[in-house]
């Protein structure tokens, strides 16, 4: 049954295979979107929601847009985002984790802002499907979601064909995400200011 298959895909141990598992779990593209895939999530992500991508490095932005190096995981582990309905502490905890884990590994980073974008902007391209948006909530982050896609090239494609497909997709996603980056001082009355470089 698709619902159980989708939950099994969410629980799959190998992060890099999760997008493929989701794709295989349902008979049509992004079929798992209609189910609540995580037991911690409040429910499937709807088209009228807004998603938030935490921007935690100045290098993540080029010419006002996301740097494409940030967008290479849609067909593997997926791109983490938070749903705008997330509580303040979910945003704070997520940013605190990113900053502290990075610091432990030798990389200093800080909050540059939050990139906001509507779900429908990444789910559809004209009337076609684009990215899949799954409700991959966790115990302490129930409003966590992932942007994923199915295989970009057929089995047997060359490495070069896969690289090209990923680079072309990154370019399309960058445009779809837009450039509405809310600075830490403006996001929820300065909620993330303590993670900004100025603090």
């Amino acid at each position: 049954m698709s619902c159980e298959n989708c939950r099994a895909a969410f629980a799959h141990a190998n992060d890099d295979e999760r997008a493929r598992k989701f794709d295989e779990a349902a008979p049509r593209p992004c079929g798992c979107e209609k189910y609540r895939v995580s037991p911690h999530s409040p429910g499937p992500v709807t088209d009228d929601e807004v998603l938030c991508l935490l921007v935690s490095d100045p290098q993540m932005i080029v010419d006002g847009w996301l740097h494409p190096s940030k967008l290479a995981n849609f067909d593997t582990s997926g791109q983490s985002v938070l749903r705008e309905a997330a509580a303040d502490n979910e945003f704070e905890n997520t940013m605190a984790e990113l900053v502290s884990r990075s610091k432990e590994r030798g990389k200093h980073r800080w909050c540059l802002g939050v990139l906001r974008f509507p779900v429908h902007a990444v789910r559809y391209c004209a009337s076609d499907r684009f990215l899949c948006v799954y409700d991959t909530g966790m115990e302490h982050k129930p409003f966590h979601a992932d942007l994923m896609c199915g295989p970009l090239v057929p089995d047997g494609a060359t490495g070069g064909q896969l690289k090209r497909a990923r680079m072309e997709l990154a370019r399309e996603v960058i445009t779809a995400l837009g450039r509405e980056i809310v600075g830490p001082s403006d996001f929820r009355s300065g909620l993330l200011m303590r993670f900004s470089k100025a603090s």
């Binding site: 740097h67 190096s69 990113l98 590994r105 680079m167």
Partner: protein, 196 residues
Amino acid sequence: MTAIANPTAVSGVKGVLAVTPPAPTGAKGLTDLSTPFQLAALVGGLRPTQLTQSSAWSGEGAQAAANWFTSDAWLAEMLATIRSFRNVEAGWDGENSRAPAAETLDAAEMLLAYFRNAPADRRPAINVGSDGLPSFARNLRDFYLHLVVEPRNHPSNCVAHLTWYAIKDGENIFEESVPFYGTSLPPELSKLVDLK
């Protein structure tokens, strides 16, 4: 061409650019120019006048080098970015990222020496992806570039391989695993960033 005194082998680019001078005392502290960057600059990345100005190879050039270096905000920022990824461990992005390899960061620094001579609106910005590969990007109305620096295949005498996707003048361009030898930019990349 500036003379090279007391050449010594360079780890990581041995066989490509087999020699490099030891950095003059204090030069790195003044300019923050790393060995890979200096190598590429020396071999051909900088125009003669710039090389003279930035002559980190001569003692009297040290101060001039500092002025030249700090006056280029783009270059200073890109070198600092690369430096911030030196010695980071896997998981540096707070998630499941791979650690970048020193040789690809070295190659990225060499590329900077060439990109520096490109028009300002063609100079790309560097970042490192969760796959640990450095990549350069630019995203303007008339120019999009995403260039990834990949490790060289062994055995090979190149510094790295470059794969890029670009949109220029409405044309989609893709090149895969183009060898980068450190002595010049691949001609098609040079043309792409409008290097004269």
